[in-house]
């Protein structure tokens, strides 16, 4: 038990150090920008004394170390500054946009797992067959296709040509803001409000971006599952299980798959973290009002507070997921314990 506590402390320390690095890097990125933050606020026709005053207010006259300390102090109070573009607090903006991204990424990972894992298992069981080759090609394609091309193609085919899917955005104009916000997930909120039209509309809008994002990560999940399964299937216990006359299904799913489940969880957590990144591009293609789109719009408007805030939050979530994946592996797999 003491052992576990020690490891927890170790994980916490390394997490803290990495977090510090994260904050330092975002701070430094914010400082190297050529855009003068003072001019961004007051405009370039402001009188000299106003400029000087704002410079003092922002603390830009202080040494860099002091500025960093102030930045950290603000962060600890949950203060990421104000967005120039929306004139809201950045934290408020993030709280508004982040649920849409989580909703998108979650549906995508569920979809990708549901398809990718059986694909990988099948490819491993029939190693070298035509099916295996086909799955390999699909994986390579998924690995090589730019996600924005996939998104544009999907819009072209399913929206413009076939008319199966609604267009971009998160909800139809008619349903915009009709459902009271409880969780921030439109698919859940509409269910809570028992608004079936909204519910249907939310899922219809989600289908395309989530599908595109899922294809992107499905390739990786299938590839890893296949590799793990090949490894597991060559184990001697599998030969034993087969020799005992167990059914093929039981050997594959219970014996082999049961043994790779832990490693697979790690991969899924890492993939989920990666989806946050894939979401930036996907959200831009589908005008999905999530954190990714917030980030790119802020970038194009040189709204540095918003950019750095969003970067920091996404970085934090990404880091936590990575650590979680790592710890889960250590906790669940007795061999690394």
């Amino acid at each position: 038990m003491r052992h576990a506590a020690g490891r927890l402390a170790g994980v916490a320390t390394s997490l803290l150090i990495t977090l510090f690095g994260l904050v330092l890097v975002t701070f430094l990125i914010g400082r190297v920008m050529p855009i003068d933050p003072v001019l961004a606020i007051v405009g370039d026709h402001a009188p000299e004394d106003v400029i000087a005053q704002v410079r003092l207010d922002l603390g830009l006259d202080k040494p860099l170390v002091v500025q960093f300390a102030i930045y950290v102090a603000h962060l600890l109070h949950g203060d990421l500054g104000r967005s120039v573009m929306t004139s809201n607090l950045v934290t408020e903006d993030i709280a508004r946009y982040f649920p849409a991204t989580i909703e998108l990424a979650t549906v995508a990972i569920v979809l990708a797992t549901a398809i990718g894992v059986p694909m990988g298992v099948l490819a491993a069981v029939r190693q070298g067959s035509r099916l295996d080759q086909a799955i390999r090609v699909i994986c390579l394609a998924g690995h090589s296709i730019p996600i924005f091309l996939l998104g544009l193609l999907s819009l072209l085919v399913f929206y413009a040509k076939l008319g199966w899917a609604p267009g971009t955005g998160r909800a139809d104009v008619a349903f915009e803001g009709m459902v009271p916000v409880v969780t921030g997930f439109l698919t859940v909120d509409s269910l809570i409000a028992l608004d079936w039209d909204s519910f249907y509309d939310a899922w219809a809008h989600l289908a395309q971006p989530a599908g595109v994002l899922a294809f992107f990560s499905m390739a990786y999940i299938a590839r890893m599952t296949r590799a793990f399964m090949l490894d597991a299937l060559s184990g001697e216990y599998i030969i034993t299980a087969r020799a005992k006359g167990l059914s093929a299904l039981r050997v594959i799913w219970r014996h082999a798959f049961g043994n790779i489940a832990v490693r697979l969880i790690t991969v899924l957590a890492l993939t989920y973290a990666g989806l946050l990144e894939g979401a930036v591009v996907t959200e831009t293609v589908f005008s999905w009002p999530g954190l990714g789109q917030y980030l790119t719009v802020s970038l194009l408007n040189a709204d540095m507070n918003a950019v750095l805030g969003a970067t920091l939050v996404v970085g934090l979530v990404y880091m936590l997921l990575n650590t979680l994946a790592d710890s889960a592996y250590r906790l669940l797999d007795p061999r690394v314990r």
Binding site: I17, T18, T26, A141, P146, F148, L153, L156, M304, V314
Partner: protein, 300 residues
């Protein structure tokens, strides 16, 4: 006739010189590689891309920036085999010149990142102790960031364009190389031959440069080739998001970003550069897969 003699010379079981042994080994690797059809296809496409990039000024039928406003968004037709864009520029010509931008960016990133990762990894692995801890902590911080998002913030802070895109991609690409080189170095650090070199009085820098780094290069090359496709996608994503190459540069991602507005009606305009990105990235993936199978069979 001389070909057969050469082949014999290369494949002999009893090489008479070091050079013969080395070339024989390379020849056997090549034979292995050649047997892999997908990898060969990848290699051919990559070579074709390089040829397109180098010979773009001679291959392109038009100047990539010459506009013809009477012929905007034209369908693929004789004379304009891949159609024209929103300013009447020939898409094929732009695509060929775009290969220069894309491959140039990939090359620049690789040249920066591979030696840097190699150096950091070898130094950390060889010296161990606090140097290792410090360097790996820094590596971890950069690994902890989602790559694209760090790159976007970085580019936004300086100024969008090709040089800052290269720098941003490099900044987020080196950590895995450092990790890899460190792991390899740890494997060699305590071997007898390194101990022997040390006993002869070789300095640390000589050991790292002459004995450890060359041994790490093989796996690094495989990793770099496999990464090239992700660097291509990365550069294109930055271009697509408006943070990479800026119009009127014929960078493929940027071309898609500007042509995106027309894709519901003139869908071929953004589709052509999109397919180019896909083909280039797939080719590098196939090539990298093949190289890994040949050079590093245990990872298969």
């Amino acid at each position: 006739m001389s070909g057969a003699v050469n082949r014999e010379w290369l494949l002999t079981d009893a090489p008479t010189s070091r050079a013969q042994a080395a070339w024989g080994r390379r020849y056997r690797l090549w034979l292995d590689f050649r047997a892999n059809r997908l990898a060969m296809a990848g290699l051919i496409v990559v070579l074709a891309l390089v040829v397109c990039a180098v010979l773009a000024p001679w291959l392109a039928p038009y100047d990539p920036s010459s506009q013809d406003l009477t012929n905007r968004l034209g369908v693929p037709q004789p004379g304009h085999w891949l159609g024209t864009d929103e300013l009447g520029r020939d898409v094929l010509s732009r695509l060929l010149f775009g290969a220069r931008v894309t491959l140039g960016m990939v090359l620049a990133v690789v040249i920066t990142v591979a030696p840097l990762g190699l150096a950091i990894g070898c130094i950390a692995g060889y010296f161990g102790g606090w140097i290792d801890t410090a360097l790996m902590r820094i590596t971890d911080v950069f690994l902890a960031f989602p790559r694209l998002i760090l790159a976007l913030a970085f580019v936004a802070a300086i100024r969008p364009g090709i040089p800052s895109a290269i720098l941003a991609i490099a900044l987020t690409t080196w950590p895995p190389y450092a990790r890899l080189a460190r792991a390899e170095t740890l494997g060699f650090r305590n071997t007898d031959f390194i101990a022997a070199v040390r006993l002869t009085g070789a300095s640390s820098s000589r050991i790292i440069l002459r004995h450890i780094a060359p041994l790490c290069v093989g796996s690094l090359i495989v990793r770099v080739t496999l990464d090239m496709s992700s660097i291509i996608l990365f550069a294109a994503s930055l271009g697509f998001l408006g943070m990479g190459a800026q119009p009127p540069s014929p960078e493929w991602g940027t071309m898609i970003a500007t042509a995106r507005r027309f894709f519901l009606d003139q869908w071929w305009v953004p589709l052509v550069p999109g397919v180019a990105i896909f083909v280039a990235s797939l080719a590098f993936n196939l090539l990298g897969d093949g190289l890994r199978d040949v050079l590093d069979p245990k990872q298969r």
